[in-house]
Amino acid sequence: MKYSLQDLERFANEMRIDIIKMLHEAGSGHPGGSLSCIDAVTSIMYNYVGRTAQNAADPDRHRFVMSKGHGVPALYAVLARMGIVAQDELMTLRKINSRLQGHPVVTALPEVEFSTGSLGQGLSVAQGMAMAAKLDGKPLKIYCMIGDGELQEGQIWESLMSAPKFMLDNLIVLLDYNKGQIDGPTREVMDIEPVDEKLRAFNWDVQVIDGHDFKQLDEALTKAQNTGGKPHFIVAHTVKGKGVSFMEGVIDWHGKAPNDEQTVDALKELEARVNAAAEVAQ
């Protein structure tokens, strides 16, 4: 079943509330890159991976690998909303004995599909999953989320060179291009531009979209289902900290949790947006 774009937007905005609460409770973490990718993660997980509690362990399931492991609060929020992780378990994020490690750990929580957090490695793993699906002739799709700073890793370029060789048209990579990394704006730290031209030169099927526009996300993901022999790369332009006005585009929110006061402000803004959307729907 496909959810409506309005539903997806509502889910994502509700989960932004979860992300802020989780990070506030944890006292650390990465709000900027979690809020920038939640719209895409929501679109992929609900309407393309189609994850449910029932199919989470099915060997023939579509898979989503969060290569930018620091964005995992977005994935945990989705898994909780789907009932795969208990809602109150979200508040154990980053705490001792929690399955919700600061970066995803597959041996603790198999539903994250793989352990990531050391940047540049998840794409190779997703590539291997796509190769296995091809080898077995299974019509599975492998989705992988990478960050713009992550694109600076050498291993990413190994995989970007390799996936077209193996004609992995079942591999769909989404770049959460939020323009910021810990040490500053991506273009200043180590520019990745012209990223779409680089990917086309590497023989990928490339699309460039607004990563907060659910219609564009849906259209791009639909186009990426084609089996023309090329792996798919979606450059999703996003805003770091999207949804919380005082975090938006501010590098400093890459890797720190909001304090009590900031959490109140962030939740007020996010809840107002969710409530306003609910009124419009009625």
Partner: protein
């Protein structure tokens, strides 16, 4: 049987297993002719993946395949693959996927290519990883048995193999027991723990010393992790003097592993024989074994000197 490189034994066995185990997939990073993975690749091209000179991507892709139920073997010169330590740490060891890392051309025995291609530190770094098993076979029969074992093994493993031919220490009827020490010669004046290409040389050197009245036990350690601690402690207590021999740095290899166990459970005078905190160099394998005293003559001299002047107890 004459001398045979353990990489050749590996290639033959893996290609044979391809027939009975359809889940085996093999990756190489532009060294398939050297690692002998091509024996599998030419028989089962659909299950063989030429990854180009991309060791990190090979590690990750194999890990991804392992999550889909495949049994990957990834092959390269040992230092080129184990040198990607953090990728192995994250994508294989921590994820606990059943990938076997096959490192060939280990030790100074690689010869003429010189130090840049030589793995003298690979046991040390692989041994430090939780979840990682480390196996180094001594000859043809042991390599084949280890490969058969690893094809069914459900966790990360590192298999260390030689470029150069090695003499046979086991018969065809050899039974490989994972995690168990393999006693080759009895003795009570001391015990030699040896691993890999130097096991045969250690055995011959011990036989020479036997004729001079020095009665040394020789134990082959094919599984360096998990180590057969019980056997090592018992042999140390029974003989009172321990030598370790390896074509690897004495820092972090078999010698260190044995010393760690004994210093906690049965402190025993000991001597670690191997590469003494230095780099290798170019030369023929035999020439290098002579220069670095890992051939029969060199080991005989090193062992004799150690036995005559054991460390202060």
């Amino acid at each position: 049987m004459s001398k045979k490189a353990t990489r050749v034994s590996f290639g033959e066995q893996l290609a044979a297993l391809g027939e009975t185990n359809p889940e085996i997939v093999v990756f190489d990073a532009d060294l398939a002719k050297s690692t002998q993975s091509l024996m599998f690749g030419s028989k089962y091209p659909e299950r063989f993946f030429e990854m180009g000179i991309q060791e990190q991507n090979m590690i990750g892709a194999a890990a991804g395949m392992a999550t889909m139920g495949k049994k990957p073997f990834i092959c390269s010169f040992s230092i080129f693959v184990t040198g990607r330590f953090e990728t192995i740490r994250m994508s294989i060891a921590y994820a606990d996927v059943p990938v076997t890392i096959v490192g060939t051309h280990c030790g100074i025995g690689i010869g003429e290519d010189g130090y840049s291609q030589m793995a003298l530190e690979d046991i040390s770094i692989m041994r430090s990883l939780a979840n990682m098993t480390v196996i180094q076979p001594a000859d043809d029969a042991e390599t084949k048995a280890a490969v058969r074992f690893l094809a069914e093994y459900k966790h990360p493993a590192f298999l260390r193999l030689t470029r150069q031919g090695v003499e046979q220490v086991h018969g065809e009827d050899y039974t490989f027991e994972f995690g168990k020490a393999d006693e080759l010669k009895t003795g009570s004046d001391g015990v030699i723990f040896a691993t890999g290409a130097v096991v045969y040389n250690a055995l011959k050197a011990a036989e020479q010393l036997e004729s001079e009245g020095v009665n040394l036990r020789v134990v082959n350690i094919h599984t360096i992790k998990p180590l057969d601690e019980e056997h090592i402690i018992r042999a140390a207590k029974e003989t009172g003097f321990v030598l370790t021999i390896e074509d690897h740095s004495i820092i972090g290899g078999l010698g260190s592993a044995v010393a760690e166990v004994l210093s906690e459970h049965a402190p025993t005078p000991m001597k670690r024989i191997g590469i003494y905190d230095t780099f290798g160099e170019s030369g023929t394998p035999n020439g290098l074994y002579e220069k670095y005293k890992l051939d029969v003559k060199g080991l005989y001299e090193q062992i004799k000197a150690s036995v005559q002047q054991p460390a202060v107890a």
